[in-house]
Symmetry: C2
Subunit: 414 residues, 2 copies
Amino acid sequence: MIAEIIAVGSEMLTPYRQDTNSLAMTAELNKLGVTVAFKTILGDTFQHLVDATHIALSRADIVLFSGGLGPTEDDLTREAVAQALGVGMTRNEAVVEVLRQRFAKRGLAIQEINFKQGDVIDGAELLPNANGTAPGQWMATEYEGRQRYIALLPGPPKELTALFAEQVRPRLQQVVPPLHIAYRWLRMAVVAESEVDARTSPIYLSYPDVSTTILSTQGEIQLHFQCAKPTLEEAQERVNELLSRCEHEMLDHVFSADGESLEQVNLLMLGMRNLTLATAESCTGGLIAERLTNVPGSSRSYLGGAVVYADHLKTLLADVPKELIQEHGAVSEPVARALAEGIRARIGADIAIGVTGIAGPGGATLNKPVGRVYIALADGNTTEVRELNLNGDRERIRWFAAQHALVMLRQKLM
Amino acid sequence: MIAEIIAVGSEMLTPYRQDTNSLAMTAELNKLGVTVAFKTILGDTFQHLVDATHIALSRADIVLFSGGLGPTEDDLTREAVAQALGVGMTRNEAVVEVLRQRFAKRGLAIQEINFKQGDVIDGAELLPNANGTAPGQWMATEYEGRQRYIALLPGPPKELTALFAEQVRPRLQQVVPPLHIAYRWLRMAVVAESEVDARTSPIYLSYPDVSTTILSTQGEIQLHFQCAKPTLEEAQERVNELLSRCEHEMLDHVFSADGESLEQVNLLMLGMRNLTLATAESCTGGLIAERLTNVPGSSRSYLGGAVVYADHLKTLLADVPKELIQEHGAVSEPVARALAEGIRARIGADIAIGVTGIAGPGGATLNKPVGRVYIALADGNTTEVRELNLNGDRERIRWFAAQHALVMLRQKLM
């Protein structure tokens, strides 16, 4: 079956706001075996809404509306869907009574316009909304001789998500042919999308029954696998088999087959080995610390460290010899090494990361361009230093430097 | 005039990806006085594309396509638009030649399918793409007796943005009735949206010719003002007047009327007063440092600091007396104070921030719930400490703690 999602609200036609409700609904619909084929976003204009409803009902089995159920004059979804279907609306007195009580409780006078939230399209079922005033509506109907399912949902994500899960999904489950969906994903760091595609496409193309999606985000490539079968076991078997083969092929880059982030994987491995970590960051300015400490429970393994932005702090907080900075420059292999070794010794951590580099846009020298970063990893016995030459703007260079540092750490802990 | 944006690509119908090209295009269209009335998102299905083209041409003066111009079998925008218009396509040999040379340069064999990127819809103009292989197309045509303007643009944001600015906007400017648009915005930190609305709506409602949008992002409220007039002076005058009145009303919370971020404003003020800053962060784990150092040139005023996640680091790096932690606990007013004063003295900064708190989900005690955060600001003479009780998850608590710290700093520097 095919679905269309219609997001209603003029604010989503500005440069500042986007429809995001459709993403979570799409995930849920896909799990039922329903494909989202169209998304339409339009403003609070009655005739646009009526026309869009006709278009959606002519091309999709399931039409989900989000937004336009509130009490203001701009909230027109109910009226427009009724008009498109050529039916009337009936005011539900129980909804009106609840609204009256809500207003009375707060000592507010209720205005006539609020009652329109109780208008139910003839033939539709009311979906009670525990998180807000506007109930949703559900309807199974014929349109031009074809069976259609329609849901009207409120726009606020919290209300919509709950209503969808509790009221719409069970109703869809009864009308959508049963399918069992297995889904897993692989996460890889600092590798090119083209390389992942070149190495894995010969594998995943031989699984035409598994839908494989390759996604690239900042310094990370993800392979998403999804398969629908009459039984869950069959679906899982296919997804697991394909995932294993792709994981084996990309073993040098895969950091997670279960969804954990790169930070989580590192903290997990540190915890298992009972090791502690410290950081001394110059160009990343606390980004590595921030990413690690964003994981709940990170305090078990991550002790802390220094943000040594000014050169004298490299000496003051991480014991980098002043002469080393004078001789080689703050952005150099020896200074990165000294940062990692210095902060490790100072703090008494088992492992330490040191980072120094030029994030730009200023700061480049004749020998050292913007994007030159040195990352050091010290464990008390050996210190490994990597030189990077990164592209992009300041934010990208900082992010990729942190990403590379976390990959180095993971490789050490494997 | 009314525009519709059609984003083409099956990946945008998954739960993982969204159309974002439309946001920047909407901003540019609005500046020309064009309203975006519809956005349609659909996959790489030929008939869906043809139908959507018909629908768009029947309801919008300007139809902008993004995506579907590449060389693969999934790239069908050209073909679909030609089909909807009932015209053919002609292969442009100059484009084919450029493609040949590009492939030859990289020593790759070119395949026949690549040449379709040179197919130009009859009646359309080719828009050269300096950043990629797929050129755009522009067309002024009649559809059902009405004048329509069509642009086909490549999906990659960098290519689309450049093509839109350099090729599409000037063409639209010639056909759209001239309007001059003034636009400004106010940024406010750690204040409730409802408070901003209650205080400013009596003002902005008296400017019906200015479109005012109130937006809430993490710990920040924004007021956007836009006004279209026959002359730029008139539009600017209205926007400036309304902005000034709202700024005056919200003076206690406004940190920027020119778009700068809270970090930028603080660094600017530090720079103007020739002051240096240091940080000692426990629960924010480097987030304040990371946010400050993400601003180019921040090294002029921000020296660095310590991430004192483990308790012994509070003593080791920021000279917090061990006894103070034992007596009051690591999350306490005296420890926040000692962190700020300690790191300030240690590093020799003019001003220092100290943060300690419970970001959760674990770590709460009988007296100290998750969300309890102490922020201290020391300048050598006085140390101000604020106790916060924040709601939400770990990420939100950390972000709001950093946000409050930056607001405190700004208030001190005013």
